[in-house]
């Protein structure tokens, strides 16, 4: 019985490896900040107090966390099937663009139809784009990592081509000063395709919340999708099959599970999550597609998934942490008049990923070592 207690202690350690990685990364960040010649305590204090010290900060953090939850789930879900879907970027491009297109094309539809239609289109677009590497993997065995990356670049070119087709005409204000559209963007989606922001809800509840804050209903969609991902993976027959394929394709095949079918399905579900990024960025925020709308969200999803240990709950928490760093980093950048580049946060994220991976392995080994003496 004594041994069981010891074992539990290490299981807890295993669960909190991400925390260790975050602390190490923050220490590395502190060293960098000192090298730049700034005070790390001041920097971190500013970062956290602005990000989570008040309701406006929290709103901004959740707004930024929303797309990361989607792309984090993208990576996590595919990972459970043994797939490395690092094409979240491309899948969200396609899903989001198509949703935008629906939003500015079927303008006569009422919100009750148009909003679900846009959401479904976003998911379908992402699923479609992810199906291609899925099918290639299932039918020919081509490794999905390279294909999904290539699909990112193809998606980027394709949407660039499409955005020029649906380019908005210059506004009067721009014409007046003779400005050109530096970054091409489409016309705006219909009012009926827009997701409400959270401000009216807070207002209704008599909670003081700034009206300009961009956090919107998409955040709840993200949470719902996280719950859905959990339910599919651990409570359904489909999840049983997907995880079986992920752990052991040979045993799955032996157990009458179609490996190819599950690979394609897992990729499509995973891609659908990525496509849903459009609910936040377009339907809840910009209301139109801008070619450079989101850079790196797909890749940050990888970091979020790894930090969240590929579990939906972990993904939500990791996305919020990364959003805090992102938003806080931007604030710090302004506060230090640019002396602390906001890219410091990108470096911290990468350090977190590396240490999460290493500390995971170290703890695994520690546990095994401990068990030797049991």
């Amino acid at each position: 019985m004594k041994s069981i207690k010891k074992f539990d202690y290490y299981t807890i350690l295993e669960k909190i490896t991400p925390l260790i990685a975050v602390i190490i990364a923050l220490l590395v960040g502190a060293v960098v900040i000192i090298l730049i010649g700034e005070n790390p305590i001041f920097v971190y204090k500013t970062l956290f107090s602005f990000a989570i010290g008040n309701r406006d900060g929290w709103g901004n953090v959740l707004f930024r966390a929303t797309p990361l939850i989607f792309t984090g789930l993208t990576v996590a879900f595919a990972f459970r099937c043994g797939l490395f879907n690092i094409g979240g970027e491309g899948q969200m491009y396609i899903g989001t663009f198509l949703a935008t297109w629906v939003g500015f094309t079927f303008t006569s539809l009422p919100a009750i139809i148009l909003i679900p239609l846009c959401i479904l289109t976003a998911a379908a677009g992402g699923a479609l784009w992810a199906a291609i590497p899925g099918i290639l993997k299932a039918k020919t065995g081509v490794h999905e990592v390279i294909v999904t990356i290539m699909m990112n670049w193809i998606a980027s070119s394709l949407t660039f081509f499409l955005v020029l087709k649906f380019k908005a005409t210059a506004t009067e204000a721009m014409e007046a000063v003779g400005a050109k559209q530096m970054i091409p963007h489409t016309i705006e989606i219909a009012e009926a395709a827009r997701l409400p922001r959270l401000y009216p809800i807070f207002n209704f509840l008599n909670i003081d919340f700034p009206a300009y804050n961009q956090v919107n209903v998409s955040f709840f969609i993200a949470i719902g999708v996280a719950v859905l991902a959990y339910y599919i993976l651990w409570k359904t027959n489909l999840g049983y099959e997907i995880r079986a394929v992920g752990y052991s394709p040979l045993a799955a095949e032996y157990g009458g599970i179609s490996v190819g079918k599950n690979i394609i399905l897992a990729m499509m579900i995973s891609g659908a999550f990525a496509g849903l990024v459009g609910t936040n960025e377009v339907m809840g925020f910009k209301y139109r597609w801008r070619q450079d709308l989101f850079t790196g969200l797909g890749f940050n999803g990888i970091a979020v998934a790894l930090l969240g240990k590929n579990h939906p709950l972990g993904v939500v928490l990791a996305a919020i942490l990364f959003a805090i760093l992102n938003y806080g980093g931007a604030i710090v950048n302004i506060f230090t008049e640019g002396r602390i580049p906001r890219e410091l946060i990108m470096v911290l994220q990468a350090v977190i990923v590396i240490f999460v991976v290493i500390s995971d392995e170290v703890v695994k080994r520690l546990i095994r070592q401990r068990r030797k003496t049991v």
Partner: protein, 512 residues
């Protein structure tokens, strides 16, 4: 007192969950053939891996020719003139024979390049001196297992080994090849080499060794002069109790012909024919055993029958219904159970719990899958039942399969496959790597199914197993059935010859 070549003192090695060597003392005289015997998992291979520097002992000392040594890695062992032929050959398949032999000790020309000519010459000389015919330029992946073993022996001699460790060298050989190997080892002994011979086959101990050390559960339980002991004594030392060699088999009670394979053909992973025009029938209540050297199409044959590989031509019938090229799921629905040869890769999902593993294959059906989600009440109930009935340990249904011993993992597979009264049971290498207790258990389960009137197809590389279970023996060689024999009217020698493709004129028996 003879001169001592090797002495291992108080060697202890701990692995997660198990103490593989517990204060082991092991002494080998110069110029002897010393058998090291014990069950699977007794710690023989671990001890030899420590001697060869592959594992580091937690405590203990090693003396070579009376001198204390510290063997931190295989390089040290090689320098101490210790050579090891591993159970799984340590040969790199896409490289040539010569390249494999010189690896790590390459002859050099111009200070930079490998001198391949010199290497080829030295390999040729060595194989000539042993009387082997080996092409140094052949790739390992293109030569037979028997020849590969000879390459391993040359590899060891190339490094000037004086102490040779042979880890279960006969496991992959036919009876005839075993005889040849024994001649080789005896001639090496004559040359003054010291040989340590790991095995769990007791007749080999008798035929070959001068002395024998017996291990059980990580400890040495006895050292004997081979001529002063007998198989029964060694066996009871190995297992710790008296062993019944023959299982009781009830008289044959055949039903109607129920399973039929007709002119079946299939390709292997490389796209080459692996199953060639195979036809056979099995009756209810009968065990048909397939004997053969591994890699002669057995794996592919089983895969075709179970839907894991498609047949290129031919038919498979179960009770008159054509099940050729059914999907694995359809095959399971037709009540065909399969104990797969690759237990770890195919048979279980080691990261799944017992409960999850016990529904693999029927997970999508009621009562386990109901409506939109899995029914965990049923799944857990099912698991608790099977764990109790088959005495699976530890008995927690939420344990991951990877934390179970090989024997208990196999129990999980057997429990799952036999649940729901299958009509046909296919058992491929069902006891490989198991301890005696588990072997007895699995054999008893297979015989129970036979006595219940089920159709049983057994595949095994272990001739003893084939003989003790089968009602008829089919010998498979290069994808073809070369003969079908009655086990009561044949012997291991005849089967062994057939397994290597040579047909005998003086057949003891022939059954249809």
């Amino acid at each position: 007192m003879p001169e001592i070549a090797l002495e291992m003192k108080d060697i202890t090695k701990r692995f997660p969950l198990v103490v593989a060597n517990d204060k082991v003392n092991f002494t080998v005289y110069k110029g002897e053939i010393h058998a090291l015997v014990g069950e699977n998992g007794a710690g023989k291979s671990t001890l030899m891996s420590i001697l060869y520097g592959l594992y580091l002992a937690n405590s203990g000392h090693i003396f070579i020719n009376g001198k204390k040594v510290n063997i931190a890695n295989p390089k040290v062992a090689i320098n101490l003139k210790i050579g090891m032929v591993h159970q799984h050959f340590m040969l790199v398949p896409p490289l040539t024979v010569a390249e494999n032999i010189i690896l790590g000790m390459e002859p050099i020309k111009n200070n930079i390049f490998i001198d391949m000519e010199d290497a080829t010459k030295r390999v040729e000389e060595l194989s000539k001196s042993m009387g082997f015919k080996i092409d140094p330029k052949a790739k390992i992946e293109n030569i037979s297992v028997g020849v590969q073993q000879r390459v391993e022996i040359i590899k060891v001699l190339y490094r000037g080994a004086e102490i040779l460790v042979m880890d279960e060298p006969t496991a992959v050989l036919t009876p005839q090849e075993v005889e040849e190997l024994f001649e080789i080892l005896k001639s090496l002994k004559k040359q003054g080499k010291t040989i340590i011979f790991i095995t769990h086959k007791l007749n080999e101990v008798k035929d070959l060794s001068d002395r024998v050390t017996v291990m059980r559960k990580g400890k040495v339980v006895g050292v004997k002069n081979t001529k002063d002991t007998n198989q029964e004594e060694i066996a009871s030392m190995m297992v710790g109790r008296k062993v019944i060699f023959d299982i009781e088999k009830k008289p044959l009670n055949l039903g109607k012909t129920a399973f039929k394979v007709d002119k079946l053909e299939a390709l292997n992973n490389k796209g080459l024919p692996a199953v060639k025009n195979i036809s056979f029938e099995i009756k209810e209540g009968e065990i048909l055993g397939f004997a053969g050297v591994e890699g002669n199409g057995q794996t592919e044959l089983v895969e075709v029958i179970t839907g894991l590989r498609s047949a290129s031509s031919g038919k498979i019938f179960l009770y008159d219904s054509d099940i050729t090229n059914y999907s694995p799921r359809n095959i399971r629905e037709d009540k065909i159970a399969h104990i797969p040869e690759d237990r770890r890769q195919r048979g279980i999902i080691s990261e799944y719990t017992l409960a999850e593993n016990l529904i693999l294959g029927s997970h999508y059906r009621p009562p386990y899958n109901k409506g939109l989600s899995l029914n965990f009440t049923e799944i857990n109930h099912h698991a608790e039942n099977l764990i109790k009935n088959y005495d699976i340990r530890p008995s927690d249904k939420d344990n991951l399969l990877k934390s179970l011993s090989g024997g208990n993992q196999q129990k999980v597979i057997v429990a799952r496959e036999l649940y729901g009264e299958p009509k046909l049971l296919i058992a491929a290498q069902p006891t490989r790597g198991l301890d005696v207790g588990s072997i007895e258990f699995v054999h008893q389960q297979i015989l129970n199914e036979r006595d219940k009137g089920k159709i049983i197809l057994l595949i095994s590389a272990d001739l003893e197993e084939i003989f003790s279970l089968s009602d008829r023996i089919a010998v498979i060689y290069e994808g073809k059935i070369v003969d079908v024999l009655d086990p009561k009217k044949t012997d291991e020698k005849e089967i062994g010859l057939l397994m290597t493709g040579s047909t005998t004129n003086n057949k003891l028996s022939k059954v249809k």
